[in-house]
Symmetry: C2
Subunit: 192 residues, 2 copies
């Protein structure tokens, strides 16, 4: 691996765990086994390095809802819930990082946040569209507002993932919570 990549990976790990200000370039250099000066040769300054790290981090984020064809609306939603949960698990470190950035008022590079929010909205719209389709087909109960209920499902998913991040899992594992979510917020809408 070349030095530039080594720097990026090391910085990504440190930024994500300690934050921007608490991560000194001296430590990045030491952990990446390069000199501080080399960081400034590859990146204009600390902020540029940070942006390069965010850019790399967000790169694999995408929504790809294939293999949903042929399923009923409720099953499609159920799969979408699993998709979201798997995505969070696969990207746990960076998702946690982005969430912590959202909660801080400073150091929020708007470009990246816009992209994350866009993916988020897109996913919510897919949920809402699927709910509405199920209602129109007559396979899902019509007594919920599709947009509102989609937002609730997403909020619950976020709550479950936050729960996972805080390490509070004595009562209910994330997996059990996801099953209960599906049971209470998806399966109850099914019309036989």
């Amino acid at each position: 691996m070349d030095a530039r990549t080594k720097i990026l990976e090391t910085a990504a790990r440190l930024f994500a765990t300690h934050g921007y200000d608490s991560t000194s370039l001296s430590v990045v250099a030491r952990d990446a086994s390069v000199s501080k000066a080399l960081i400034f040769w590859h990146f204009e300054n600390k902020e540029s390095l940070y942006e390069a790290v965010l850019s790399r981090t967000i790169e694999p984020y995408h929504i790809d809802m294939d293999e949903l064809a042929g399923l009923g609306a409720a099953d499609r939603i159920s799969r979408m819930v699993d998709f979201y949960y798997d995505f969070i698990n696969e990207n746990a470190h960076s998702v946690r990082f982005f969430l912590s950035l959202f909660l801080r008022e400073d150091k929020r590079p708007d470009d990246f946040f816009a992209r994350v929010l866009e993916l988020y909205r897109h996913y919510r719209e897919l949920l809402a569209i699927t709910l509405r389709a199920g209602q129109n087909e007559g396979t899902l109960s019509a007594d919920v507002d599709p947009d509102l209920h989609a937002a609730l499902i997403l909020s619950t998913l976020n709550g479950v993932l936050v729960q996972g991040f805080t390490g509070e899992r004595d009562v209910a594992s994330p997996e059990r919570l996801i099953r209960e979510l599906k049971s209470s917020l998806v399966d109850r809408l099914r019309i036989q």
Copy 2:
């Protein structure tokens, strides 16, 4: 207001918005209109100031579930949901701050986190107890696990508050989400 209190309040605001490392004592001193040296006279060092701030922040946190007597189980749960939501709104700044601390791996003073987690568990237990009581009375459906369902309600509440923090409220306001939460996760359990 005495200087010590002024320092504590200024530091609380700055720590909460910018975090520990990004908050310099020079800025705290300037915003509190005191000298840097005075901070060190009142507090041993920056970390002590931080702990004093956390201690003050957490002080008003408590769970006080009065005026629930006489209500049926479902209404009690509904009130508890409102209680949680109101609590978050009243303490939005500090709750947001604590949540962001939970997501970082460093600077987690364990004493305070233990206290916050204890309140959290206590609230969840109150929910679970009330659910179980309703099932035993026959006013709530018995086809959910009380502990698991209580955890799900709490996860959803947390998701709604995170949603509020991220500023994503175009589709659904927190208030509408809370109403949908009650409708889907509480009212559906009612047995007439």
